[in-house]
């Protein structure tokens, strides 16, 4: 049996309140509360700097091409004369020096790579492009009288344009020569039995350096690699409990999260400083895969609260009902990060195989996390996907610095392409979780990758 005084007093006092004493709040805020968590948005300049560096590294590669200096050797400047008749005499005007003119047998395609001096004929030598015309020889008075003048296939800088004069009375005709071309001269006016003169006055040399027997090779060697790898997340993941009273919660978390296989993808360029050492800027992507499972066969949830009022509208009581049921939830958690890498390494070659080791820092450009976990607040599933309503702030948005180390065994398929296998490890210095989370998590992958490499230069 209730006491009427109790009931009346309770009813009148239950909702009784005084004005909120805000001076007390000011005191609490100033002296007793921990610092508010703020996440100031800092402009993260590091990803921009990393991308700029990579761009410069790639864009500067053409400047690494070392052009071999082509020295103009005018003083060794043979001129080949191809005659269709074997008995053509080529005589030189008195006063010219021999050794620049060689007779070659027809057809022209059999032009040898080099003619030695003293091979039957003598002729002038060209000492300067600007000097006086060179007398080459004469035409046979008997047909056929085609005389081909080849600027020579062995020249570094062949004649590109020259004044050609045939016969004593003809005016010089400017002729252009292409590389390895044969200039045929025919039907020029000359008297049978007379001695004609062919004058070739070089006007210009070809601008392009042409060394048919030699290849220009760059000093720098640059390669491009693409790699795909995998690693067991269970080996990569490490928990650290900061609050010893939360051990039960940690065990619950561990039992609800099962680790799968993580993936790594990387693209990098290798710029060789010499035959063994190189630097390798690149981009690296990691994905951590976990499965979150939650099951409660008797989960209790607040159903509804029913308020009971008397005829005067005064609250008499509030009845609360609960719902009990079976709840199951499975979520595939994903943690993804993109890093800029800058490694140094060296290689050792043995036939078609190449063994290398490389190491260096990786700077995180971005980190994304999505999925569910057991909430520390109410032991129920809660999302940590950034941007979602009521998401728990568990993971950071940037993983800052990590360290890479890997070895690589490759096999050259040909001069340019190789395949390789590469065990690797990436160690993150800071945890993936925010500093105020009492269970710190760190994922440092250790896996194996396979890839392709192509030599660019």
């Amino acid at each position: 049996m209730t006491n009427p005084m109790d009931d009346i007093f309770k009813r009148k006092l239950d909702d009784y309140e005084l004005p909120a004493p805000m001076h007390i709040w000011e005191n609490i805020e100033a002296n007793h509360l921990p610092k508010e968590k703020t996440t100031p948005k800092k402009a993260n300049r590091w990803p921009l700097l990393a991308l700029l560096f990579m761009f410069l590294a790639i864009a500067s590669q053409p400047f690494l091409i070392k052009k071999k200096n082509v020295k103009l050797k005018l003083d060794s400047f043979p001129i080949y004369i191809n005659t269709q008749a074997t008995n053509t005499e080529v005589q030189l005007k008195k006063g010219s020096t021999p050794d620049a003119i060689h007779q070659v047998p027809s057809p022209v395609s059999q032009l040898p790579a080099k003619m030695e001096q003293g091979n039957g004929l003598t002729g002038p030598s060209i000492t300067s492009i600007k000097k006086a015309p060179i007398y080459i020889g004469q035409l046979s008075p008997n047909p056929p009288n085609n005389l081909a003048i080849s600027p020579s296939t062995n020249l570094e800088r062949p004649i590109q344009e020259a004044n050609l004069k045939v016969g004593p009375n003809s005016a010089p005709t400017s002729k252009s020569f292409e590389w390895d071309s044969i200039l045929a001269i025919s039907s020029y006016d000359f008297a049978p039995g007379s001695t004609s003169i062919i004058q070739l006055e070089p006007l210009s040399l070809a601008s392009a350096p042409i060394i048919p027997t030699k290849k220009i090779r760059l000093k720098a060697r640059i390669e491009l690699e693409i790699m795909a790898g995998a690693f067991p997340v269970s080996l990569a993941k490490k928990y650290t409990l900061l609050d010893s009273e939360k051990l039960d919660y940690l065990q619950r978390r561990q039992s609800s999260e099962s680790q799968q296989i993580g993936y790594t993808g990387q693209i990098r360029s290798k710029i060789f400083l010499n035959s063994t050492w190189y630097i390798a800027p690149g981009l690296r992507f990691n994905q951590i895969n976990e499965t979150f499972r939650y099951e409660d066969t008797e989960e209790e949830r607040l159903g509804e609260i029913t308020s009971v009022f008397d005829s005067d509208g005064v609250l008499l009581r509030a009845d609360t009902s609960f719902i009990i049921g079976h709840r199951q939830k499975v979520t595939y958690n994903r943690l993804q990060n993109l890093d800029f890498t800058l490694e140094v390494g060296f290689v050792k070659r043995l036939n078609n195989f190449r063994l290398g080791i490389q190491t260096g820092p990786a700077l995180n450009l971005g980190f994304r996390s999505r999925g569910d976990l057991i909430s520390p607040l109410d032991q129920l599933p809660a999302t940590f996907t950034k941007g979602e309503v009521d998401a728990l702030e568990i993971y950071r948005s940037n993983l800052s610095l990590s360290w890479l180390i890997s070895t690589q065994l490759s096999y050259a398929l040909n001069d340019q392409n190789s395949v390789f296998i590469e065990p690797y490890s990436q160690i993150y210095f800071a945890p993936h979780t925010m500093s105020d989370v009492f269970i710190q998590q760190n994922f440092s992958p250790f896996g194996i990758g396979i890839g392709l490499r192509r030599r660019l230069f």
């Binding site: 005084m5 109790d6 909702d15 005084l18 909120a20 004493p21 007390i24 921990p34 968590k37 607040l377």
Partner: protein, 178 residues
């Protein structure tokens, strides 16, 4: 903002959420403290201490029952720490102060909240605390005994005495009014 968001904000030490919680509940809790303490300043001290505990331990709230009820328990426990066990055992009240029991509930209905607060405040510490816990907060004698570290029988006798004293004070008030 829902209560759940407020609480989660408090867990994250969000200042705005903490201030909102304080604004919502501090007035009511101050009124509760006024029934347990002897004067206003002491009540404010209890409110401050209690809310510090609320913000420190808010992550322990499991969303079972009302948040106000959870805060109220912390406030009451904090208020009770001010009193020593001897408060419930050593108080002596003269029997000649007791009056006849009031039979007409209208007399209680006619009292304003301030008048009720005033008569409760005039109770000795032990009577006041037991009366508050039993009649207003709804604890039973076993719970009160556990809370205060006293015997159940002590709780019962303190309640009876509290009621009789309250009735006497109320009747005195009515006589003066008449």
């Amino acid at each position: 903002m829902t209560e759940k968001k407020l609480i989660e904000g408090c867990v994250q030490n969000d200042r705005k959420c903490q201030q909102t919680v304080f604004q919502l509940y501090a007035g009511k809790m101050l009124a509760v403290c006024m029934r347990y303490t002897r004067h206003h300043m002491e009540a404010e001290d209890v409110v401050q201490e209690a809310f510090i505990k609320v913000f420190e331990h808010v992550e322990k709230f499991k969303f079972k029952g009302s948040f106000e009820g959870w805060i109220r328990k912390i406030v009451i426990n904090t208020a009770l720490k001010k009193f020593h066990k001897k408060s419930f055992q050593n108080e002596e009240i003269g029997i000649e102060s007791f009056h006849d029991q009031i039979t007409d509930p209208e007399i209680y209905e006619s009292l304003s909240v301030n008048e009720i607060m005033e008569v409760i405040k005039r109770l000795p510490d032990g009577y006041r605390i037991v009366f508050n816990l039993y009649a207003i907060e709804g604890y039973n004698h076993k719970e009160i005994a556990d809370l205060l570290g006293i015997q159940e029988s002590t709780s019962r006798s303190q309640l009876v005495k509290a009621r009789k004293m309250l009735q006497g004070m109320i009747l005195d008030t009515q006589k003066i009014a008449v």
